[in-house]
């Protein structure tokens, strides 16, 4: 374990998160079966895959909201399964996470939502907190919505507020869970631009889970295509687009049938229609 850790730091300091031989199953269904991937510092890494491949589960494993049955996840070469509660919370303060639906606290205003981590973790004065929160809200273009409640926001706005909250503690790593789903084209453009701009301007590392091939291809430095609990393909968006694999082609070009079958597993069509399968 420590061997790998030293090797990681020694050979390539660019590696920020390493996942080795990860196995995770829920019930009898194996979601990850020997997954290996590396996330590099300063890059935007895309995790893609058909729905149900466990992309969100992987995010929860990386942040140790879930614990894998086998394998290990290293952050800066340290196995995260060794952390106690205090160390875990210290580790999580290095992360900012944008949840699929924003996950804003419904009983607090937009301002208080963004201020929440500051109030919980720092003893900054109200003046300074106000300053920081307004700066972050300005960065996502929602300074004017500071006094609104989450219920009054549109989906796109809620996601931008959540983004402001995710970066209010100046994290090293920003995680986006399906940031592009269900947005109108304008909001979508705004979020795509924010992902790129935040990553480069703040010098952070971004992990984006998505199955929107078009959008993710415009921002990602490196993509991993997950399928059947493993990495099916990886590389830059262009490399994936021109890859030879059937599965990658099906996914990147959105074809209805292929290695991911159109039909869910079922008995023979003719037999079932003729009622022979019940005999």
């Amino acid at each position: 374990m420590t061997g790998l850790a030293e090797e990681t730091l020694g050979e390539n300091s660019e590696k920020l998160i390493e996942i080795r031989d990860l196995k995770y199953s829920r019930g009898h269904r194996a979601i990850f079966d020997g997954l290996n991937l590396t996330i590099r510092r300063g890059e935007i890494t895309a995790l893609m895959g058909p729905s149900g491949t466990g992309k969100t589960t992987l995010l929860r494993l990386i942040t140790r909201q879930l614990i894998p049955q086998e394998g290990a996840i290293y952050i800066d070469g340290v196995d995260i399964s060794t952390f106690n509660q205090t160390e875990l919370y210290e580790m999580r303060q290095r992360f900012g996470m944008l949840f699929q639906n924003g996950a804003l606290l419904t009983d607090l205003t937009v301002f208080e939502n963004v201020a929440f981590p500051l109030r919980e973790h720092t003893k900054l004065s109200n003046r300074l907190i106000r300053h920081i929160v307004l700066t972050k809200l300005h960065a996502v273009g929602l300074r004017g919505a500071a006094d609104m409640l989450p219920a009054q926001l549109s989906g796109g706005m809620a996601r931008r507020v959540a983004l402001a909250r995710a970066m209010v503690m100046d994290p090293e790593i920003l995680i986006y869970d399906e940031p592009f789903v269900g947005l109108d084209p304008i909001s979508l453009g705004v979020i795509v631009r924010l992902v790129r701009r935040l990553n480069d301007a703040l010098g952070i590392t971004s992990i984006v889970v998505s199955h929107d091939v078009e959008e993710i291809s415009t921002v990602a430095d490196r993509s991993f295509l997950l399928s059947d609990g493993k990495v099916a393909a990886s590389g830059s968006p262009d490399e994936l687009r021109t890859a030879n694999s059937e599965l990658v082609r099906q996914f990147m070009h959105g074809m209805a049938d292929g290695p991911v079958a159109f039909h869910f597993q079922a008995p023979g069509y003719e037999e079932q229609l003729l009622g022979r399968d019940t005999e």
Partner: protein
Amino acid sequence: MKQTFSDIRNNLVEFLRTFGAFQLFFLRLVQHSPAILMTRPGLVIKQVHNAGAQSLVIIMICGLFVGAVLALQAYSNMSKFNAEDWTGVAAAFALVKELGPVMTALLFAGRAGTALTSEIGLMKATDQLSAMEMMAVNPVRRVLVPRFLGGVIAMPFLAAIFSAVGLYGAHLIGVEVFQVDVGSFWQQIQLTVEISDVNEGIIKSVVFGIAASLIAVWEGYNTVPTAEGVGRATTRTVVITAITVLVFDFMITAAMI
């Protein structure tokens, strides 16, 4: 037959496991409580207000009518023995020792308990609790403990208000309607109801407050995070609280006699 036995065994094991987890959960809440009370009293006060104010109107209305009906029953029976003066005493005993704490706990479960469960359940279903975890904020400390303490603190006050309003209801029926002498109505109460009777009511309301808040918070935190799951959890909160409160009521009464 074999199947039945193994089903029973599995259910028993499952029950014991849940019960053990429930106890650990209680200890976790208690463990964090002093720190929250000292460092974040504002959070607790807000929840006392939430739980208390939500239930106040319903508790006062029910208290008034329960007191009135007690006086009605007491008067119609006592007057057979020319003991109308004792109408107030009968109502006072019933309210202070039994109906005050019990009815308050049941009403609290229906009003504030369900609100707590569905609020926490929805926070879970919409990833708000996970978001807190990700912000390195412990949701048990930040969300559950203040709500638990809010209920625990509010309940004795609510029970006291219930009994007080109930006594006024008894006064309305006994004195205003049936013309029992107002002096003997209140003096009999003062002479017969001991401080130990009041204490019994207070002890009960504290215990019920802990039980009702704990069950509401537990059900919310362990909700299956779907619309159906939240609905089921709120129903369970009411049912389990009602059973627990009545069983505890019997045990405490038996222990104090």
